[in-house]
């Protein structure tokens, strides 16, 4: 066989070359989509999840106030644990400092049913088009920016507008809420000596090139944050990130459970004290905060059920899926267990 045979083989296969027109169009389409997604790094929804579940207890901190360092507050008042459903809004924001306004890119609702069977973690897609009080219709994550303002962003105001938007959208009362940042998440993870996260598929970090193989891994704080930032390159983008947040939250709760944090008010208080000063929290008057915390030991299972608010669309904005109507009705009427039983495919697999 000669080199000329090789040249001839290449030349003979030139007709396999696809036409340029469709390729050109596909490139432009893909590039446009990726440009939109590129905008910036976002907070893992995750962040959120954890404190939410860990502690419905987080709301005991006021912005800027340091943590309680003994267990007395948490154990006080054995009488009135709250009854009925509980909804805690978890908002993950990226860097709150610097010149650019923070975006709320992870919005999760932690729902605890009245029977205290188990917590539900519902992610609300950040690109969902929703009416924002006083600002027309825009993406859900814009509510935080509208509220916080540019210049010196006010996280509490950003949270408040997000809360009102979510309350209008879902029709449920928001009992408390937390704003989380990456540093908080990292500290919490390290404080419990790492969290086990079970991934159905390999994830590769576009930020650090770290590879997270499929399967279960114990991640430290830095690794967890890295994982929870990943959105690009995953089949469902931000939705997959929200699901990883669910998995992370489940792992964190398991970990906290193993260490007795959930049932030991002193330990919980110490843990929250670690991150307390950096948390921005808020609550409405319907239940006092130590009372909210009492919900945790009352849960039959702390293993959360991860759900996405059904939404879809290919453009810049997502819209609610027809399936969202019965879902939201079930949420409002505290019938989520039944809804999940009827729609098992919509539950995120956590391990």
């Amino acid at each position: 066989m000669t080199e000329d045979d090789l040249r001839a083989a290449f030349a003979r296969h030139e007709p396999l070359t696809p036409p340029t027109g469709p390729v050109r169009a596909a490139i432009d389409r893909l590039a446009a989509r990726r440009r939109r997604r590129r905008q910036r790094l976002r907070v893992g929804a995750a962040a959120v999840a954890l404190v939410g579940v860990l502690g419905v207890g987080a709301p005991q901190f006021r912005p800027g106030q340091t943590a309680v360092d003994d267990g007395t507050t948490l154990m006080a008042d054995p009488s009135g644990a709250p009854v009925g459903t509980l909804n805690v809004l978890l908002v993950g924001v990226d860097s709150a400092s610097g010149s650019r306004p923070p975006l709320a890119d992870s919005v999760l609702l932690l729902h605890v049913p009245a029977d205290r069977s188990r917590p539900y973690l519902i992610s609300l897609p950040r690109d969902l088009a929703v009416p924002i009080p006083g600002h027309g219709t825009d993406k859900l994550n814009a509510a935080f920016v509208f509220g916080a303002g540019d210049g010196r962003p006010d996280l509490a105001k950003g949270y408040d507008l997000t809360r009102r938007t979510v309350a209008d959208l879902t029709g449920v009362r928001i009992d408390a809420g937390v704003v989380l940042t990456y540093p908080v998440l990292r500290k919490l993870t390290d404080a419990v000596n790492g969290v086990e996260v079970c991934l159905p598929e390999r994830v590769r970090s576009i930020h650090t090139r770290r590879i997270f193989p499929a399967g279960c891994h114990r991640l430290d704080g830095a690794e967890s944050v890295d994982l929870l930032r990943q959105r690009r390159g995953m089949p469902d983008g931000a939705l997959d990130r929200d699901r990883n947040a669910h998995r992370y939250a489940a792992g964190l709760v398991r970990r906290a459970g193993e260490q007795g944090v959930l049932t030991d008010p002193v330990r919980m208080s110490r843990l929250l004290g670690l991150v307390g000063p950096e948390l921005t929290v808020s609550w409405s008057g319907s239940a006092s905060l130590p009372d909210l915390l009492r919900v945790v030991p009352a849960l039959e299972s702390t293993e959360p059920v991860g759900l996405d608010l059904p939404a879809g669309g290919n453009g810049r904005y997502l819209t609610l899926d027809p399936a969202a109507t019965p879902f939201l009705a079930a949420l409002r009427e505290d019938r989520l267990a039944g809804w999940v039983a009827a729609n098992p495919a919509r539950v995120t697999r956590l391990r």
Binding site: M1, R7, H13, L16, T17, T20, L30
Partner: protein
């Protein structure tokens, strides 16, 4: 030069090059698409290169050779369509069947070796330029080519009765 001008002038040649690398029109299209999306998004950096054409060819070749870094292979593998790698243009003469054996043997080569063969015998580039595209020494290019040719000749000799 703008991205549009570049695409007008070079897209067809890049697609041909990708077909020679991958041996398959679908994979070639995915490879070119993935590379050109990055070219478009980073056009300013590409345009600053001495020769944007060579820069892009280098991107595409690396994407092909180092499949772990890119995602295109995974998508191709997930496509689930029959592999058309050896579906050459129809010609029923017996010797053509033999010649098209060459095409399937090429598919069996390591990617890097196949890339050097394409650059040398299809693009007709000098060894120095091939070395630059692959980011290796000229000596490495030569040994790569000779090893690839040895493999092909062995296959050829075995296929002869």
């Amino acid at each position: 030069m703008t991205y549009e001008e570049f695409a007008d002038a070079r897209l067809a040649a890049l697609l041909r090059y990708a077909v020679m690398l991958t041996g398959d029109p679908h994979q070639a299209q995915d490879l070119v698409q993935e590379t050109m999306v990055r070219v478009q998004l980073n056009w300013r950096r590409v345009a600053r290169a001495d020769s944007p054409e060579r820069y892009v060819r280098r991107m595409l070749t690396n994407q092909f050779v180092d499949w772990r870094r890119g995602s295109w292979v995974r998508r191709v593998l997930l496509r689930g369509e029959p592999d058309e790698a050896v579906a050459a243009p129809a010609d029923h003469a017996q010797h053509t069947v033999d010649r098209d054996q060459v095409w399937s043997w090429l598919a069996g080569l390591p990617r890097r070796q196949r890339a050097t063969l394409v650059l040398r015998y299809y693009e007709d580039l000098p060894d120095a330029e091939i070395a630059e595209i692959l980011g290796c020494a000229v000596g490495t290019v030569r040994s790569c080519i000779s090893r690839a040719l040895t493999t092909l000749r062995t296959e050829y000799a075995e296929a002869r009765p």
